[in-house]
């Protein structure tokens, strides 16, 4: 039994923040869970899928975040408890529906968990999704520990049912993708029978009527938040500095205050219910300090809301020096860290953290400069995307018209870096590659001479590429869409998608075939194995010469999936007698340009060799070696 499904109230276990969120939903009496994977949120629904059968719940990986929210809303409007999880970018996709659902409200319980990624550790942006809570008039909570993440989600369901509207829970990478002790509560096992009351339809219209109702629901949430146990104060009655913080910031602030010995001087107000603000609680603390510092990730959301509250009550409150992102005291981008919080508090109070001796520090700097070569991100050894980009690069060079490759989101997003031979020229949102290629593909009518092409993964194809592909086909855009079908949502952890023969819960599922979808749209997709390097180059080149929207599906499973299944295709070796190293006319094509991590350049012998601990045995390097020094043998 996976840990989140253990029926042992009181037992203390190690859970990832995302698993704690999932457990909280189970303790609240969950019936339905839906999401599209996106880090740092993916394990919430992934872990629920593992216990779906035992818990009698329904779990799905939906094709995108808007559909996931719609699936969950159908459950919630039928009286059930439903959870939907996404990353910050995903909330943008879901927002169109969310900003109407908030107006109708729901009838069961619906918790929307959004996991932000400060610093963009596994994201293309570091947007602060909390803005949406204010925009949508929905209550928002932010957990600061793993145990609290569980309890907060359970409470969010209670509140959602009480006010009849969606509740938002915002996590961040350092909560979602961190692990800590969680004390299990009882599992809620009874599940209501879903029933949609057709005598009470749900419509956002007329907005002039539903908008005030949404505001009233938010006021109820505010009352609930006023004496919430998720808000805590620790420190003296009249601190010299009051820190207002939330999320992971609270853990960092707590430790920094302790390390600097500032317990008697600094007050720490942790807010777990960040929208609407628990106004009475915050006002009672604002009166006690003349200096207030905000520690939060990423945007000054709490900071601006508290300042606005202060402005409303400024006649009753003392003059306050507000410190945060606006004052430049805290950086206005990136995540918080213990080191950053320590230096901010040192600067404000003069307290000094005990550090390592200067001599050690000097050695550390020298080591960092001389013994730690940078590690650029790269495709995994044996990754089919490397072979695909190699073919694209070669075909574009043959074509000679400076073709533009519009990139997309997935592992293959690394295609704008050297690992994809810097071929991708744009990188924005899921499915925006084909959307932009569709747009560029009509510009020949306005004088453009460059061919347009785009790459798109299999999961991205379902998520957001299909409407844009229809757009391209309908408008006869001249572009080549290359679907990099590695049969995996690889970047987020191999969640199934509509191309998989099983669903999130492991039940057999009909495969929605990409090729057939394309054929159904009137296109004639070509399907190839990107490991057939020469044939792929020729095909990409040929398709670039054709008018209209063309589709090439390059199909080869993700190297990590292949590795899990065991056998390598080939045992690849280098014949040192044939490898001419730097004297070869190829200019070290294999290591300098192809850059597979399974290859090694031996600086002493000036020859290439294979690292057997790393090589995945795809054999593509053997095909590109002009001296035939790299040899594919049987593994």
């Amino acid at each position: 039994m996976p840990v989140i499904g253990i029926d042992a109230p009181g037992k203390e276990v190690l859970l990832m923040g995302n698993e704690a969120i999932a457990r909280g939903a189970l303790e609240a009496g969950l019936s339905v869970a839906a999401a599209y994977p996106g880090n740092p949120s993916s394990e919430i629904i992934g872990s629920l899928a593992e216990v779906a059968a035992q818990m009698g719940i329904y779990v799905e990986w939906s094709i995108n975040e808007k559909v996931a929210l719609e699936v969950a809303a159908a459950a919630a409007t039928s009286g059930l408890n439903a959870i939907v999880a996404m990353k910050q970018n995903g909330l943008n996709v879901a927002s169109d529906f969310l900003l109407n659902l908030n107006m109708t409200g729901i009838r069961g319980g619906l918790v929307l968990v959004v996991c932000d990624d400060p610093s963009g550790i596994s994201s293309t942006n570091e947007e602060d999704s909390r803005i949406y809570a204010k925009l949508a008039d929905l209550p928002l909570m932010e957990p600061a520990t793993f145990h609290e993440a569980k309890d907060m989600v359970r409470h969010a369901f209670e509140l959602s049912r009480k006010i009849g509207n969606v509740c938002l829970v915002r996590s961040v990478t350092r909560i979602s993708h961190a692990r800590g002790n969680v004390v299990l509560g009882p599992l809620h096992k009874e599940k209501p029978v879903p029933y949609f009351d057709t005598s009470r339809p749900l419509s956002a219209l007329p907005a002039a009527v539903t908008h005030p109702v949404a505001h009233e629901r938010l006021r109820q949430a505010q009352e609930d938040f006023e004496d919430s146990p998720f808000n805590k104060y620790r420190g003296p009655n009249s601190p010299e500095l009051l820190i207002i913080t939330c999320g992971a910031g609270w853990l960092f602030a707590n430790e920094a205050v302790e390390i600097l010995g500032l317990e008697a001087r600094i007050g720490l107000l942790k807010i777990g219910t960040t929208w609407p603000l628990p106004e009475r609680l915050i006002l009672s603390h604002l009166g006690s300090a003349s200096k207030v510092l905000f520690l939060e990730e990423v945007d000054p959301v709490l900071e601006n809301n508290v300042k606005s509250l202060y402005a409303d009550h400024n006649l009753d409150l003392p003059r306050i020096d507000f410190l945060g992102k606006k004052s430049g005291t805290v950086p206005d981008q990136g995540e918080l860290s213990p080191g950053l919080v320590l230096s901010i508090l040192s600067g404000l109070t003069g307290a000094v953290a005990p550090g390592v001796a200067p001599k050690y520090q000097a050695t550390a700097e020298e080591v960092l400069n001389n013994f730690c070569p940078a590690r650029s991100l790269a495709f995994c050894p044996g990754c089919p995307h490397r072979a695909s980009y190699w073919a694209i690069k070669t075909a574009l060079a043959l074509d000679g018209r400076d073709g533009v490759l519009f990139g997309d989101i997935g592992c293959y997003g690394l295609g704008f870096m050297p690992t994809g031979f810097s071929q991708a020229k744009t990188l924005h949102a899921m499915g925006s590659g084909i959307g932009m290629a569709s747009g560029f593909g009509i510009l020949n009518r306005l004088g453009a001479t460059q061919p347009a092409l785009t790459v798109c993964g299999d999961s991205t194809f379902y998520h957001a590429a299909i409407p844009a592909l229809i757009n391209a086909l309908h408008h006869k855009a001249n572009c080549l869409m290359i679907v990099l079908d590695n049969s995996a949502t690889a970047m987020t952890g191999f969640q199934p998608h509509p191309g998989s023969a099983a669903d999130a819960m492991g039940s057999p599922a009909p495969v929605i075939d990409i090729e057939q979808v394309c054929s159904g749209l009137g296109a004639e997709p070509v399907v190839l194995d990107p490991f057939q390097v020469q044939e792929t180059v020729t095909t990409v080149y040929d398709l670039l010469q054709r008018d209209g929207t063309n589709i090439l599906i390059l199909r080869q499973p993700c190297a990590l999936v292949r590795a899990k299944k065991g056998a390598r295709r080939y045992k690849v070796t280098v014949d040192p007698a044939k490898c001419m190293g730097e004297d070869c006319g190829c200019n070290r094509l294999c290591t300098r340009v192809f850059r597979c991590p399974g290859l090694n350049w031996d600086r002493d012998l000036k020859k290439t060799n294979i690292d057997e601990a790393i090589c995945a045995g795809c054999g593509v390097c053997a095909d590109i070696c002009p001296a035939h020094a790299i040899v594919k043998g049987n593994d």
Partner: protein, 205 residues
Amino acid sequence: MDKDPYNIVVTGVGGQGNVLASLLLGAMLVEQGYKVTIGETYGASQRGGSVMSHLRVSRSRQYGPLIPPGLADLVIALEPSEAARVLAQFGNPNAVSVVNTRPVHPVDVISGELPYPAMNDLLDAVESLSARVYLVQATEKALELGNPILANVILIGAVAGAGLLPITAEDLDKAVTQYMSADKVELNRKAFILGMEMTGPVPLQ
């Protein structure tokens, strides 16, 4: 562990089994009644990038998921230059290191844009930032067991063998059963014991 919190960094390169190693270590310590917090690296940075997990172990309370600079007590490195990188940021004169000696060359080294440091100099650098260093040929041993990924559990075994953490092969079995699957127990136990033998006395069977 004589310090509270006791701070451990497990470091390496994406794909080396860093996350799993830290999960198993954490699970074994929670079972013994410790409060454990683990901060991990996921996603894009796992594709060939440096990765690290921060483990904070305490008898009394839940610490934050990141170790403050200079406060690591134990560095477990699946790759030697990553040991140096972590020690330079989180090390101190009392830090102990357990280091796999097999390098993984960054793509910038493969392409010839950067050199990989000479192994002797690199290990000297690691030593200069540690109170004690245990060098372990974990990847070579893992290849003998049939899968290079087992280097992570071999290193955990080496930590146990050196007496750095109060963990045994039985604790590992339990953690593997709970967080992975029962059929993985045998091979992981073998790897753990191999690691123990490389740094300390052979355990009683």
